[in-house]
């Protein structure tokens, strides 16, 4: 699967990431009565007033725009949980906390369209910004450890948007290092040349983050 915004490169634009994130499910509380929706992606509903229903974000946002429901923010989007995550992110400089894969996009969606449904929205928003900044800084310091012996990078618990931002840079970097470290460029010292390592074994794989 590749993005459509740039035909030459297989990267996603931020708006495309948001589009993908809209398939995640969320709980809404409708205030109208409606028959179940039978769509290709699944059946949603039936919708009864004050009875929660589970729908994808795109449907939730569409209903919300028409004033037909309130969105229940996901569990992780509370001040207590986010404060705890932020603390944990700051305390562990070498690993990422598990967060929903699309947390950046989902939080933006809800901040744009469902401001009145999120309790303590200012606090929540600044907490998420802080978490994102801390995590991105970690990614950057992690990337500094890439060297000639790196030919794979493992990033656990990294979210979709974070991966998407660093993808073009990391891919180019790894390609460049691979090229400069190819066996025909870096000759082994002549003493050990008779027992040279096979080209496939290029040193231990380095994890960007140990877990």
């Amino acid at each position: 699967m590749a993005g459509q915004s740039d035909p030459k490169l297989s990267i996603f634009s931020a708006a495309e990431m948001e589009f993908l994130a809209e398939d995640e499910m969320v709980e809404i509380v409708p205030n109208m009565r409606m028959e179940p929706l039978n769509l290709i992606s699944g059946d949603y509903g039936p919708f009864r007033p004050q009875i929660p229903a589970s729908v994808p974000y795109w449907l939730a946002v569409a209903l919300k725009k028409r004033g037909k429901c309130t969105i229940r923010p996901p569990e992780w989007m509370s001040v207590e949980t986010l404060t705890r995550i932020l603390e944990a992110e700051r305390d562990s400089p070498r690993e990422f906390q598990p967060l929903p894969f699309h947390y950046v996009e989902i939080s933006k969606l809800l901040f744009d369209h469902a401001r009145d449904d999120i309790p303590d929205i200012y606090m929540v928003r600044s907490l998420i910004e802080d978490i994102r900044d801390v995590r991105f800084h970690k990614v950057e310091t992690g990337l500094e450890t890439i060297s000639a012996r790196t030919h794979a990078v493992k990033l656990k618990n990294l979210s979709a948007m974070e991966v998407n931002i660093v993808r073009p840079f990391v891919v180019r970097t790894l390609q460049a290092f691979y090229k400069h470290d190819s066996p025909e460029m870096i000759q082994q010292p002549s003493v050990t040349s008779n027992r040279r390592l096979p080209a496939t074994d290029r040193g231990p794989r380095r994890d960007l983050r140990q877990r």
């Binding site: 990267i11 634009s13 931020a14 708006a15 948001e18 933006k108 744009d112 991105f136 950057e140 990337l143 500094e144 890439i146 060297s147 000639a148 948007m161 998407n164 931002i165 660093v166 993808r167 073009p168 840079f169 180019r172 970097t173 460049a176 290092f177 090229k179 400069h180 470290d181 025909e184 460029m185 870096i186 000759q187």
Partner: protein, 186 residues
């Protein structure tokens, strides 16, 4: 293996190399600006583009030596402070040319030198490209070679696209396909 029409590869091979002719050559005086006749004598020192020099070297008509951007002075400067060496003015295709030369000349030190240079300069690029998304910084770009510039651009464009998205803007954009006008049929 780069593409035949890869412009970067073509420009890489245009870089001038110092060459000493091992044989006299007639009728090619235009290669040597200091030559008074139309011939090049044996032992003449000429600067030729890499693509020609490599062919002459292969036929043992000329000996290629290492261009100034890979000499000891540059190596010492790279060892001292890799990030602040202006490689762009010395050779914009530093890494590409270096790896080509290493194979032709057979100098085994160039490979590890290139790797060392890239490894240390990469960190500079990394730290600058992701942080300087808003400030219109063109200064670091002056020092970077072509390959490093590509890296910088990749990081810079993705982070600025993200910031633009976060700030908001039109949620729906018309596809370029929809806006396109149909070409008139003549």
């Amino acid at each position: 293996m780069p593409h035949y029409y890869d412009i970067d590869d073509i420009l890489t091979e245009e870089e001038l190399m110092p060459v000493v002719f091992q044989k006299a050559a007639t009728g090619v005086g235009l290669l040597d600006p200091s030559s008074e006749t139309n011939n090049i004598e044996q032992g003449a020192k000429v600067e030729l583009p890499f693509w020609l020099a490599a062919e002459l070297q292969r036929r043992q008509a000329a000996m290629m030596s290492i261009p100034p951007c890979f000499n000891q002075t540059t190596r010492k400067e790279i060892q001292a402070d890799a990030g602040s060496v202006d490689l762009r003015s010395r050779c914009p295709y530093f890494y590409e040319l270096g790896s080509k030369i290493a194979l032709v000349v057979g100098d085994q030190t160039i490979g590890s030198f290139l790797l060392y240079a890239f490894m240390n300069r990469y960190k500079e690029v990394l730290s600058k490209s992701h942080t300087a998304a808003f400030a219109a910084t063109t200064k670091p770009l002056i020092l970077l070679t072509k390959e490093e510039t590509h890296l910088y651009e990749a990081a810079h464009s993705s982070i600025s696209a993200f910031k633009k998205w976060r700030m908001g803007g039109s949620r729906y954009e018309t596809s370029s396909f929809i806006g396109r006008k149909r070409k008139p049929v003549e």
